[in-house]
Point group: C2
Chain length 218, copies 2
DNA sequence: ATTTAAATTTAGGCAAGTCTAAAAATTTAC
DNA sequence: GTAAATTTTTAGACTTGCCTAAATTTAAAT
């Protein structure tokens, strides 16, 4: 039995490790969880006793296979619920996160499975992130930050790195959605701002934008 | 901010009081919550401090208006989710309760509202229980136990008192569903068993069944 | 290589929600 | 109308998840 809080820590560790089974630091976990390092240490010990992470004092942790499966299961539920909220309940992509944070902890194999069926097996959530399958396989996606694209090349927007409401609303306002084709006109070395063209309309975006938008080469 | 556990107690008190604002006993609450009387006392004090119940030591509690609204809100969510599970995710009526017990605690006004829209404003859950509106009004339903129907009268099944899987599966097996017309042929004084007729087929049901099936006069 | 800084862990404490055991109040029974 | 039985409350303790403050370990800097 994995508690609500344990699931959140596992998810945090998964995201920090970024599928590399790199060691994750106590401070990193505490920061991500908005708790103190001492709280993180407490939880790490508990996760370690349950065999969900490997832990070496002062060194850091990484997920065991059991822990990885638990984390991915939560992520799967989170992303399926996000699809549900957007596709069926008319939520916009900047409103879904908070509610999905609650729904991801509902424990029912059948519920998750039937939700997947009902949504017709989506492979991406509303922010372009991949949805793991029920066996815990996370589809790998090679995605580039827009900032890496050279002038005179074009690309397709496939996801966001930052998924805060502010950023998502910015994108909505400027008609940048998943699937939008972006042509890079020029880059400014000074402030890393970039001139881009979408649908014949051309304007300048800051590095805050180019560093948080994932694209693929056309 | 009402916690998960507080919501469960409020729901229990609501159901025990049965919309009469009758006093509910500590022991009654403890029994319903599967906890000990001392735990119930602790929680009652907390609910009282929050203004959700009126409490007099050794006498009992009843919900304040604020408490009633909180309880009804949880019940509304529970029943909406049950409809969702049955109508959209192919759950059967005996499988929904446990999952709905979890979903009922999700906090999002918009979620509940949009779910109601998505389900096209259902007024009854899969067991025939009324779904309160978003202002906390519980539709009143006058329903009779099948045991009260006299021989040679017929009635329509509109709900269940006991909604355990065992009973619901019994009803499924014998093709008794909400809306089914039942004609009472005779009653046995000795064991309160009853001979009934459904679709020209006639058989005997025990008092355990007649005391747990709600009907309305045709 | 030792000192300083940063990260991590330990120690002790707090609130929520539960428990057991014992005390107090109420109800029931004769 | 008092004694026994039941119900309810209190007292003290445990677990989870968090905190602050202090101690320890590791890393960085000169």
């Amino acid at each position: 039995m994995v508690t609500f809080s344990e699931e959140n820590y596992l998810k945090a560790i998964y995201h920090l490790a970024m599928r590399n089974d790199a060691l994750v630091s106590t401070n990193g976990i505490a920061k991500k969880m908005h708790t103190k390092a001492s709280s993180a240490t407490d939880m790490i010990k508990k996760l370690s006793e349950k065999g969900l992470v490997n832990y070496q004092k002062y060194k850091g942790v990484h997920l065991t296979e059991k822990g990885r499966l638990a984390a991915v299961s939560v992520i799967r539920k989170h992303r399926l619920w996000e699809v549900f909220l957007v596709k069926k309940l008319n939520f916009s992509w900047d409103e879904v996160h908070e509610v999905a944070e609650q729904l991801e902890h509902i424990k029912s194999e059948k519920l998750t499975q039937q939700l997947d069926v009902f949504l017709e097996y989506p492979t991406k959530d509303p922010h372009g992130d991949p949805i793991p399958d029920c066996d815990g396989n996370m589809p790998s996606t090679q995605k580039l930050l827009l900032s890496k694209i050279e002038p005179n090349n074009s690309c397709i927007c496939i996801g966001v790195k930052d998924s805060t409401s502010n950023f998502l609303q910015y994108l909505d306002k400027h008609n940048i959605a998943l699937g939008t084709k972006i042509t890079v006109i020029s880059k400014e070395a000074f402030d890393e701002s970039m001139t881009i063209k979408i649908n014949k309309k051309q304007w300048v975006i800051s590095k805050e934008v180019t560093h948080n938008l994932f694209v693929k080469i056309n």
